[in-house]
């Protein structure tokens, strides 16, 4: 399939102005896409154009410019709805990012419907943002957190998950794809099993939406969250999808303007969906930028991107495997993961690795990747992580491998 797919990589790279620079005298090889992605000119232009020609506050002004801004903002919401195939546009809540989306669900649905003794199920693969909000809620309400383990290849242990589910399980918060390992979780089955015991499910889709088509109706999940900036869109914008019936029966997250129908000093009446959850002036330009990012990646096609990234993953795995002393954090089968490689070198700490390869233009992440429990699971304090996006090249994987040889040149025998 790869051979028959035409992927105009040079053209796509040219869409990203930031990529054509040198860093410390070397061409930039940006391999930290799991942390955040660069922005195509379409996103930059859409944001700039909005500020130059269409900007005003939304949902209030009885004047032409505000109508235009509102139309564009609501157009972005519809764009997101179609992107994840939600049934209703009212089910799309704009937030500051996935972190806020998860906190919103914990603070509203969780606060209202969970009680002492209830169990919330997480996995070892979670990012801190899908652990800490539930810990905070658990300690406030006396909930119990249960954690699904992973095997030595970083795979979700299905039997262990099933054994943790019971009538006490009220909520399951699970990542779609691991940000450290790239492991893709069987979220559709996870949702079905949780629903069978009457639990609701939130899926953290940050690491999934840039790499694969997501259909929230097909998954049948209750909540799905992701961030704009990992999807080639702006920072400061994220999405919470929630099933309409659930959102209707949740209290507001924050109080303020835009989220009310009417206010007296005695009482406020909440606005309808989705505005009940969007207090204050929203990130209008960022929402428009996110819609432009979605248009952009869909113009390439997520299936084409997936094929390209699978090729990069395969190639980079081969190159890195040839480096003496390099150990992948876990050797998950390639067909079950996205284009992320976490590794260590026997001779150098991940921070030293990242500092040195940066001097050769290669940007990778070093550290715990906001997933300290997973680091503990694999017995390392930190790893180096290279993560590939739609614009990366085999030459950039070569640049990483060459730079890693220089790390050996400094540290190794």
């Amino acid at each position: 399939m790869a051979a028959t797919t035409f992927y105009d990589l040079d053209h796509f790279r040219a869409d990203f102005p930031i990529l054509c620079q040198t860093v410390h005298g070397y061409p930039l090889a940006f391999l930290d896409n799991a942390a955040s992605t660069q922005k195509p000119a379409d996103v930059i232009t859409a944001t700039k154009k909005f500020y130059e020609t269409g900007y005003a506050n939304v949902h209030r002004g009885a004047y032409w410019l505000s109508e235009q801004a509102t139309r564009q903002y609501e157009g972005a919401r519809e764009r997101v709805r179609a992107f994840i195939n939600a049934r209703h546009v009212e089910e799309i809540i704009f937030t500051r990012g996935a972190t806020e989306s998860i906190n919103l669900v914990a603070a509203t649905w969780g606060q209202t419907y969970l009680q002492a003794g209830d169990e919330v199920v997480l996995t070892w693969l979670e990012h801190h943002s899908n652990i800490v909000p539930w810990q905070m809620l658990a300690s406030a309400k006396g909930l119990t957190l249960k954690v699904v383990p992973v095997d030595d290849e970083g795979r979700f242990l299905w039997e262990a998950y099933q054994s943790l589910l019971s009538s006490r399980t009220r909520f399951v918060a699970v990542t779609h794809v691991s940000n450290v390992l790239g492991t893709i979780l069987p979220v559709k089955d996870i949702v079905a099993a949780a629903h069978a015991v009457g639990a609701k499910v939130l899926i953290d889709g940050c690491q999934a939406v840039p790499h694969m088509a997501v259909d929230v109706c097909d998954l049948a999940c209750d909540f799905y969250v992701f961030s704009g900036h990992k999807l080639y869109g702006p920072t400061g914008i994220g999405v919470l999808y929630g099933r309409e019936v659930l959102l209707q029966n949740m209290p507001p997250y924050q109080g303020g303007g835009d989220m009310i129908a009417s206010v007296t000093f005695e009482k406020a009446h909440w606005a309808g969906l989705p505005y009940k959850f969007e207090a204050g002036t929203p990130a209008v330009a960022q929402a428009i930028g996110l819609a432009a990012a979605i248009d952009y990646i869909e113009s390439i096609g997520l299936s084409a991107i997936a094929v390209h990234e699978a090729d990069l993953l395969h190639y980079a795995t081969q190159r890195l495997a040839g480096i003496r002393g390099l150990r992948f954090l876990c050797p998950a089968p390639q067909q079950t993961k996205t284009s992320v490689l976490s590794f260590t070198l026997d001779c150098a700490h991940p921070h030293d690795i990242a500092t040195i390869v940066d001097r050769y233009g290669v940007a990778i992440r070093a550290g715990h990747h906001c997933a300290q429990p997973l680091m503990q699971r694999f017995g390392v304090p930190a790893t180096a992580r290279a993560s590939f996006g739609l614009y990366n090249t085999r030459e950039e994987a070569d640049a990483l491998a060459d730079a890693l040889e220089r790390v050996r040149g400094i540290f190794g025998p």
Binding site: G367, M375, R406
Partner: protein, 157 residues
């Protein structure tokens, strides 16, 4: 293979040696000063132990922890050079070393007896070309300062 000069400055032989074989990396029974330090950005953490006698003289310093070559080397070198110094001298080295790492101004002339220590620490000054790594070099020192000051924990943030 040619290695860039700024990297050679940072990863000098002395640092690689201390980084790969840290001295005094062990607990210290009978320690009467100790503190835990951590760098929230990277998750590196270490504990510094001191044994200070009644006259205020540092008799022994050890540390436990794990981290990058820079943080390990800096901690290792620190434990070696503090032995025999007074607590006040040990404490006075912290701002002087911090200034060296950031390329900031060293205040006045350091106390007598500290020039030699600072000279030995010059091998770590290459870190000033790598601003995000300064905290790796200074973590052990902030932790030692916390131990001497009687606070339990130090953070580079």
């Amino acid at each position: 293979m040619k290695i860039k000069d700024d990297l050679r400055d940072l990863y000098q032989e002395v640092i690689l040696d201390h980084g790969s074989r840290p001295r005094n990396l062990r607990p210290l029974p009978g320690a009467n000063r100790q503190a835990h330090g951590h760098n929230p950005m990277c998750g590196d953490a270490l504990t510094v132990f001191l044994k200070v006698d009644k006259g205020g003289l540092v008799r022994e310093v050890t540390f436990l922890g794990q981290g990058c070559a820079i943080s390990m080397a800096s901690a290792s070198m620190m434990t070696e050079m503090l032995t025999g110094k007074s607590e006040a001298e040990a404490r006075a080295l912290v701002p002087a070393f911090q200034a060296m790492c950031t390329g900031g101004k060293v205040e006045e002339s350091p106390q007598d007896g500290l020039e030699e220590s600072l000279e030995r620490l010059q091998v770590l000054s290459g870190v000033r070309q790598f601003p995000v790594r300064v905290k790796c070099a200074t973590l052990a020192w902030h932790t030692m300062a916390a131990a001497v000051d009687g606070t339990d924990t130090a953070s580079t943030e």
